[in-house]
Amino acid sequence: MLRLLQQPMRKCRAFAARLLGLLRARRADADFAAELEAHVALHTEDGVRAGFTPENARRQALIKLGGAEQALQAQRERRTLPWLENFAQDLRYSLRTLRRSPGFTATAVLTLALGIGACTAIFSMVYAVLLRSLPYGDPGRLVYLFTPDPSLHLPPEIFSPTNADFFDIQRENRLYSNMSFVGQSAVNLAGQGAVERIGAARVDENFFSTLEAYPEWGRAISTGDQLQGHDHVAVISHALWQSMFAGSPDVLKDSISLDSVNYRIVGVMPPEFGYPHGTDIPYGNAEVKTTETWIPLALTPQQKADRDNASADAAIARLRPGVTIREAQSELGIIEARLDKLHMPLLQGCGALVKSFLDIVVGPVRPLMNLLLGAVILVLLIACGNTASLLLARASDRLRELGVRAALGAKRSRIARQLLTESLLIGVGGGAIGVVLAWLFLQVLPSLNPGNISRLGEASLDARVLLFAVAVSVLASVLSGILPALTVSRLDVTGLLGGSSRAIAGKHSRVQSALIVAEAAMVVVLMASAGLLIRSYINIASVSTGFSRSTVSMKISLDEHPGVTSQQQAAQRSAFFHSLIARLGALPGVSDAGAINYLPLSGSESLDTIWVDGYANRKDQLAEGRSITPDYFRAMGIPLIAGRAFTEADVSSHAHVVIVNQRFAQIYFAGRNPIGGRVGGDNRHWDTVVGVVADVRHFSLEEAPEPQFYHPDYGGFDSAYIAVRSTLPSRTVAAEARAVVRTIDPSVAVADVHTMGELESEASAQRRFQTTLLTLFAGVALLLALAGIFGLMSYSVSRREREVGIRMALGAQRGDVMLLVLGNAALLLGLGLTIGFGCAWFAVGVMKSFLFEVGGHDPLTLCIACVLLAMFGLLAAIVPARRAASVDPMQALRAE
């Protein structure tokens, strides 16, 4: 009852006093001895006064005190913290025992280090990509707004509201505190000497306040900046500030030239801000990896009123506090239902979609991160299992020692605590090495980066990750230490000291066997998963892209020239590309040169509605439309299947001709000869099909080719990809091309120089990333499990030497003994394989979305995983088996 009165503060004070007591133990002991001395003397004096002899009186006093030594001990326990002292004692003892068996210690520590290292490394990555808060205020309240037309059967995230729709929504909504309209593009930045291509965003005055991200220097884009004539201002990224202006504070007096137009710099964003990144806007500009500059959107009143054609790339909004996405969705539905009727009839049918910002920005990589986390957790569990097994083996070797301690009065909890202390030490060691391993992993991570996971490069061992590593280490120590501690502390003293240690060891090895079975099962799951990814990757690698890998491609973007009519502009472009292609084609070593507006695997896309003569046309017929120069197919190595390629005459005479791909021909000219057939689009004349070319994988390697059609053109694009087929190295080709471009127009940038093979490899980079990591983890898991099997078998052989000796004395052959050990290993492996097979069968369902042309329940992969484990597992058991077979029966029998 009194205890209720003790306030926590008093407890803290007492705790501090006791902690201090640890430091002043000796002086306090002397002090208390003096106090007791005085006590006994006072008591004795009283006794003498009452008539006892001094000896008797002193004896009485001591009895009443309950023994001086006991009083001293009780005082000591109260003065300091006994558990802390015990812990220090356990720690010293554990360190001594661990040092005595370095082989065991090294194995256990390294095993745990692998598990903890893998976990920490992957966590640091997941933390950077998914968990670390984005550099925007409360990203949970940010949403994207879309107005999708379901009848077009396209991903809804393609449809951003049109300009007029956006401004009406902005006026009528009640649920958003802020809304912003963002355009994403790549621009030519004139630097010292060379022209550079950077990501730019055209933003309205609400952009920064919607994201709640503000310049670290200078100001944001304001309402005044949106007015015509005042709109040549720019906010730049921290990186650009550093690279172009060397971080000079005078940057606000400076300007940058974007697409040959000067912009006055008004602000610098903080280092972590780069919105929109390439993956932040669905189906955004794939050329942009991160945004380096923000300039005013500056729409004219006419543009703002455009309801049918113009739109920015993304509409983002910040929900008012407490508003749910569902509420926002229903409000946008009501608003858009009214606005839809204002569209021209062909474009009616727009719905409304509100999607969480986080789902769009980090959602796509979440499954991959979960997969990798799952994999490393299995690795960690296997490592813990191994360490537990090692600790168990050692505990049964130390039964006698533990028995002596128990007999001398050590409590069971004390023995268990001591064993746990040991595993904690191993965990700490493993954690320390694991952090080093994680650091090494992070050094190679950038080279594995597939490029389409935003913020992956920011993964680092910061305080939170280190805290995670500590937590995992403690968890791992407890996981691996708890089983041995429990089994040992449950034994009684006679059992520990008596001759029945053999039976106890048997019990231990049953637990160890169960651990091995579980490990084998987990390894099967991991190997099967890795196997499925490897097979998917092989399938991807063998996909036929339709073009030649050696062709060199590069992007050329022409500046827009305001104040020039579109006809004049088209003529200028046409002249530029004509002369560029002609000069490139004439270079020595170059066999063909061509241009296209949307290059395969460049992340760009354009879909057109088409009509085919003699086909039952529907409203939503879409095909990939391209403009190419006559030699494009030859430059890309795309084979002509039927008919002819384009000629220069087709371009100059504006001939109404079109070339389609095989898929197009199969769908729209089924059973007919496509050559001579007619294809048209909205408001367009008929074009006559003059040729059929092979299919090309355009958007990704994993999607089957869509219907594609090509028109001959030189001037219909402001930016184009040049394709050059030559025998020269790609770097030489790029240098030559740059030189040629400079002689025609020095303000034009040559960007994205790649061979098509590189683009292909980039397109499969994420697969390579996930396959490499999962295979690595499966390999580590296999290695750990093999070490576990080897350890268990060696241990059980050493325990059973006597039994083996008896068997041999009774006539067993060495072969029989080997078979006995191998049979034992095979039994455990078999059990593990069966369980693992079952688990894998269910677990791979999770992997469906990661597979390409492989069924989740691919029997071949599962069987290979099982066979591999069985093979390696038996190999690991062979060494102990041979040792068992080499036992000398006489020696073994005499040993005990």
Binding site: M1, E35, A38
Partner: protein
């Protein structure tokens, strides 16, 4: 000895505080004797358990100690109440009284009910 009661868990601290309040600074032996006398020699106090209790009170800041000289000229450690100890004594007394009162109601012969 058979008629003597052991000190209940937790009540020793209250006895110490109360004794120190009424007697002023006192050494361990004197405190022990006084507690026994006050109880009318009904309590069997193991003197050895008094010292950890004193240490605990000191760690909690309710009492403080210093070396002094006893009435018969012996060096001994004297304990005295602190301000926090006085407050604690008031609180504990009130609480203890309430507890005994509640308990008394339960244990009283059921005449009125």
């Amino acid at each position: 000895m058979g008629g003597k009661t052991d000190v209940w868990q937790g009540t020793l601290a209250l006895m110490v505080l109360r004794t120190l309040e009424s007697m002023g600074p006192q050494h361990g032996y004197g405190l022990a004797r006084r507690i026994e006398q006050t109880s009318g020699d009904l309590l069997a106090l193991n003197y050895g358990t008094l010292y950890p209790a004193l240490l605990k009170l000191e760690q909690e800041g309710f009492i403080r100690s210093r070396w002094g000289v006893s009435e018969n000229n012996r060096r001994a450690k004297f304990y005295e109440l602190t301000k926090a100890g006085e407050r604690q004594l008031k609180r504990a007394t009130a609480e203890w009284e309430q507890t005994t009162e509640i308990l008394a109601r339960f244990l009283a012969p059921a005449q009125e009910a």
